[in-house]
Structures are given as structure tokens and as C-alpha cells.
């Protein structure tokens, strides 16, 4: 009797959390779509630029959540893929190839190859070793970027112009880039959501909970984890390709380990394994950073402890906090 009671409570709670997430993400997307109109009242260029940047990192955090939240793969080198995407755009643009389709294809191919090779090796390890080896690979790429003197080396390189889509200067206006980024974000979210619920995603989630059990029913988790790692890397490369356009600049700093750490922080801040959380987490992270930096130059003194508090006291990040508040209100 009591078992059946908990049972219903557990399912109801889970359903409520999912319903809440759906509402949160729809609201987020609608607000984002309206943001440029609202921004007309203020410093429009600055706001659009900031929100575009927030959405780009939301895509990157989302891609990290796919492997971190659903595959329990803690990658400490995810910025490498952002760098690959950005450099694909930068290098091709410096040679006069400005078509975004070509640039993106190169970015995705480079990321897929890098993810496949490094993933195939990294996934032979577990836990802390996986964290360290992904960090090592991304550092290799970082120093490779530093040594690329033909493309600016340590200083990076500026984009001669933003990418074109089928010859059209679609990204040249900030609003054009904004809506293109929003479309990419929505597309990536829907793709991740489908993947997580698919046969593939179910095996991935199963292997996160109990890899031995998955092997005992006939799956080899390794292959599924590797494919997820490749998909995630490609998605982060898309974020990198957009980032290069947004900043008009590419440098090895995009691949630094600090950047990888920030991506992890954004994902955890928002709520791991929720897809919606990391999107909101990345945006909140950057907004907070921007706001605090405006208050004082010692903003990191406030920002750091704040992140620690979220991890310590709000388990499950922003989404976890929201679910608890929602649960209290409804219960």
C-alpha cells in the first residue's frame, strides 16, 4: 500500500518537473525572440550582442549536458570544440571562403574527427582519469592554436567579414546573427530532446545508471558513449562557428581550460541532465558576470562564492531550485 503510494508520488513529481521544464523553455524562447524589439528602448546594439553571446554559450552548455547529464561523461575539455568551430570559420574566411555552409561543414567535420579520435581513447578511462585526459587533449589543441603563427598564433586572427549564407550577408546585421543563433539554439534543443528519448538515448541513460546491467542485456556502452561524444563535440563546434561571427575574432583563448571550466559551471549552475537547465544556466551565468563586472572590478570575488553557494545549497542548480519551489507551492 505504502509502496504504491510513494510510487504515485514519485511519478507525479517527475511529471510535474518535466511539465515545468517545458513551460520554462517555451517562455525562454519566446522572450528571446522578442528581446530585440524590447531592446529598442535601451542600448539596442549592446543588448542584442550580449544576448547573442548568451545563446551561443547556451548551445555549448547544452551540448555538454548531452554527455555530462545523460552519459555521465565529465568532459573538462569541451572548449576545444568551440575553438575548432571558431578556427574553421576564421581560417576559411582568411582565405576568402565566407559561405557559412562550407565553414560549418568544415567545423563539424573537424570536430567530429577530433571527438572520435580523442573520445575513442578517453572513453577507455573512467571518472577522474576521463576528466584529466579530456583536459589534456584540449590543452594540446590550445597549444597547437598558439603555435599557428600563420593564423595569428597567440594573438589570434580577426575575421575580414562575417559569414554569408548562400551569398547573402545574413549575418552582417546584428539582428540577423541574433535570429540565426536563436534558430540554432532551438534546433539544438529539439535535437537533444529527441536524442535523449530515442533508442540511442535510452541506452546512453541506461549506461549512466548501470553499465554492467547494460552489458548483461547485450549492449556495449562504449560505442554509444563515443557516438554521443561526437554529436556533442559537433554541437559545440556549431557554437564556436557562431562565436567567431559574433566576436569577429578567433584566438586560442577560446580553447583554454578556463573556458572548459566555465562551460561545466554553466551546465551545473543550470541543472545537469535537464537540457533546459544548462540553457538557462549559461545565460544566467553570463548575465551575472556582465552585471557584477559593471558593479566592481573585483567582481570575481563575488561571483566565485556565489557559484559555490549554488552548488552547495541548490542541488540540481537553477532547475532543481525551481522544482523545489514549485513543489512546495503545489504541495
Amino acid at each position: 500500500m505504502s509502496a504504491a503510494g510513494t510510487d504515485i508520488a514519485v511519478t507525479a513529481k517527475a511529471r510535474q518537473a518535466v511539465g515545468g521544464r517545458e513551460r520554462a523553455i517555451i517562455a525562454t524562447f519566446v522572450l528571446l525572440a522578442l528581446a530585440p524589439i524590447a531592446a529598442q528602448a535601451g542600448p539596442q546594439g549592446y543588448i542584442i550582442d550580449l544576448i547573442t553571446r548568451m545563446m551561443i554559450f547556451a548551445i555549448a552548455a547544452l551540448s555538454l549536458d548531452l554527455i555530462l547529464g545523460y552519459g555521465a561523461m565529465v568532459s573538462f575539455g569541451h572548449a576545444a570544440f568551440i575553438g575548432l568551430g571558431a578556427y574553421a570559420v576564421g581560417i576559411l574566411a582568411s582565405h576568402g571562403v565566407t559561405d557559412f555552409v562550407v565553414q560549418l561543414a568544415a567545423a563539424l567535420a573537424a570536430a567530429a574527427v577530433f571527438a572520435f579520435v580523442t573520445g575513442a581513447l578517453s572513453l577507455r578511462t573512467k571518472g577522474v582519469y576521463f576528466i584529466m585526459i579530456t583536459l589534456a587533449f584540449s590543452q594540446m589543441l590550445f597549444f597547437f592554436g598558439v603555435s599557428l603563427s600563420a593564423y595569428g598564433g597567440d594573438d589570434g586572427l580577426s575575421l575580414p567579414e562575417r559569414s554569408r549564407l548562400f551569398g547573402l550577408p545574413l549575418f552582417s546585421s546584428d539582428k540577423g546573427l541574433f535570429y540565426a543563433t536563436l534558430a540554432c539554439l532551438i534546433g539544438c534543443y529539439l535535437l537533444c530532446r529527441a536524442i535523449v528519448a530515442s533508442r540511442f538515448g535510452r541506452v546512453l541513460r541506461g549506461a549512466r545508471e548501470n553499465p554492467v546491467r547494460m552489458t548483461a542485456i547485450g549492449f556495449s556502452p562504449y560505442r554509444f558513449q563515443l557516438v554521443a561524444y561526437v554529436i556533442s563535440g559537433m554541437m559545440a563546434a556549431l557554437a564556436g562557428a557562431l562565436l567567431a561571427n559574433q566576436t569577429g575574432f578567433v584566438s586560442p583563448a577560446y580553447m583554454s581550460w578556463q573556458r572548459s571550466g566555465e562551460l561545466l559551471a554553466m551546465t551545473i549552475f543550470g541543472g545537469v541532465g535537464t537540457l533546459v537547465g544548462p540553457i538557462i544556466g549559461a545565460m544566467a551565468f553570463l548575465a551575472l558576470e556582465e552585471w557584477l563586472a559593471g558593479l566592481t572590478e573585483h567582481w570575481k570575488m563575488i561571483f566565485g562564492p556565489l557559484l559555490v553557494c549554488v552548488v552547495l545549497f541548490a542541488r540540481g542548480g537553477i532547475m532543481g531550485l525551481a522544482a523545489r519551489i514549485g513543489g512546495k507551492r503545489d504541495g
Binding site: 509502496a3 510513494t6 510510487d7 514519485v10 511519478t11 517527475a14 529527441a194 536524442i195 528519448a197 530515442s198 533508442r199 540511442f200 538515448g201 535510452r202 541506452v203 541513460r205 541506461g206 545508471e209 548501470n210 554492467v212 546491467r213 547494460m214 552489458t215 548483461a216 542485456i217 547485450g218 549492449f219 556495449s220 554509444f224 557516438v227
Partner: protein, 254 residues
């Protein structure tokens, strides 16, 4: 006797100087329930790990339906029809009971590299999973998260998962472990129902259940099989009585 479905021939496993499986050989015919008993630390679970592919054997052979599977990884053995359950419940606690079983059905029906369609809405997989749940009597708990099932129900779920892999042979590692009296009765009833349909290797400490279910019994002591026979023969074997049943008997008196 019918041709053996599962045959184990001279299987060995040692950790340094400690021999855990010592030249173990036995056969299981189709539909036969072969119980492995032995005192704690006799190497029963190690043997199941070796048969299922979780542990590599040092030497010897395991054959399933005539095919040598000694060097195959665990997942490949499952595809060939050798499923196992675990002594310590091994399920996906965050998944519903139905999804736990549906995943096992998914593993053998078509590619799992499908990225778009919702797996939880695949009627075919769900129907197969439901049938396995019904076999063990858990159909009423299909949508319950596996983590909140009672211990006995989790033991039954283990069986349902193994069944959903469409096995020819089942390796059951103490399906009654940790169950109360009532729970143990329902698991035993389920085992009786499975008997005859699959070749079963059963490890169990519950002697009542072993002697009620087994067609043949092998006794493992210090990694070595010291006797194999019908339950009646084993009960009356003096070496077995000394090595194993005697201890139990004394313990019961104490």
C-alpha cells in the same frame, strides 16, 4: 541424455596463488535446471562471472549450443542466448520497471542507433517487456520506478530482464538472496514456471528451494566440483555431507 546446451570444460581462474575455480566441468541439457551449491567462498559467483563473460577465464572452455564462447565478451554471449541475473540486484533504478525490461528487448530487436523516434512509445518493445513482466507477476508494477520496488519485486524484475533477452540458457546467481519468506515463495514459484523452458544454472543458498527445483546438483568446494548428481544422490553423498550439508546441519542445531 540429450545433447548438452551449455557445457563447461576444465574452467580455471586464479588470483595469484588463490585458485578460485579449479578445473570445473559440468553440462546442462536443454530444459534442465542444474543447481550449484557450496559453502560461502566456494567460488560460485566467480564461476557465474566466468560463464557470463564478466570475468576472463585463465583456461578451459565454455560452449553454448556447441559454439565455443570462452573468449567472447559479455554482450556477445547475451546475443547468443546466455543471460544472467545478479546476486546483488542490478537494475536501472531511475527507469520504470517496464523500461528496464523494454531495454533488454530493444537490445535484440533492431539497431539501437536510432536517434529521433521516442523509444518509450515503441509498442512492440513495450509488449514484449509486458509479457516478461507478466511471467514474473510484475505486470501491475510496470510504470513504477524500479528503484522504489520492494526487494522481492526487484529480484523478480531481475528475472524479467533476463527473460526479455530471449535466452536459451539462464545463469541465476542467488535469485532468492535477501528475500523474506513470502517473497521467497513468489520467486520460487516463478522459477518453477521457468523450469523446463530454459537450461538453467542456479546458484542458491536456500537448500529447500534447491532440492525442490533442481534436476541435478553440483557441489562446489574451494573452487572444485566434488560431486554431481540428482538431489537424492547429493543428499546421501558422504563427502558432500561432510563438506557442506554437515556444517549446515550443525549450524541448524546450534
Amino acid at each position: 541424455m540429450a545433447e548438452a546446451l551449455l557445457s563447461v570444460d576444465g574452467l580455471c581462474k586464479a588470483y595469484g596463488a588463490l585458485t578460485v575455480s579449479d578445473n570445473v566441468s559440468f553440462e546442462v541439457a536443454p530444459g534442465e535446471l542444474h543447481a550449484l551449491i557450496g559453502p560461502n567462498g566456494a567460488g560460485k559467483t566467480t564461476l557465474i562471472h566466468q560463464l557470463s563473460g564478466l570475468l576472463r577465464s585463465d583456461s578451459g572452455h565454455v560452449r553454448l549450443g556447441g559454439e565455443d564462447i570462452t573468449r567472447l565478451p559479455m554482450a556477445e554471449r547475451v546475443h547468443r542466448g546466455l543471460a544472467r541475473s545478479f546476486q546483488i540486484t542490478s537494475i536501472l533504478p531511475g527507469f520504470s520497471a517496464l523500461e528496464n525490461v523494454a531495454l533488454a528487448a530493444q537490445a535484440r530487436s533492431g539497431s539501437s542507433f536510432r536517434f529521433f523516434a521516442n523509444a518509450a512509445r515503441e509498442d512492440d518493445l513495450n509488449a514484449q517487456a509486458m509479457e516478461s513482466l507478466r511471467t514474473v507477476g510484475l505486470q501491475g508494477r510496470a510504470s513504477t520506478p524500479a528503484g522504489v520496488l520492494s526487494h522481492g519485486e526487484k529480484r523478480l524484475l531481475e528475472l524479467a530482464i533476463a527473460l526479455a533477452t530471449a535466452p536459451k540458457a539462464l545463469l541465476l546467481d542467488e535469485p532468492l538472496a535477501g528475500t523474506g519468506k513470502e517473497e521467497s515463495q513468489s520467486v520460487t514459484a516463478t522459477l518453477r514456471q521457468l523450469k523446463g523452458r530454459f537450461a538453467i544454472v542456479l546458484i542458491e543458498h536456500d537448500m529447500e528451494a534447491v532440492f525442490a527445483l533442481a534436476d541435478r546438483v553440483s557441489v562446489l568446494v574451494y573452487g572444485k566440483i566434488i560431486a554431481t548428481g540428482t538431489p537424492e544422490q547429493i543428499r546421501n553423498d558422504p563427502a558432500v555431507r561432510e563438506a557442506y550439508l554437515g556444517e549446515e546441519g550443525e549450524a541448524a542445531h546450534a
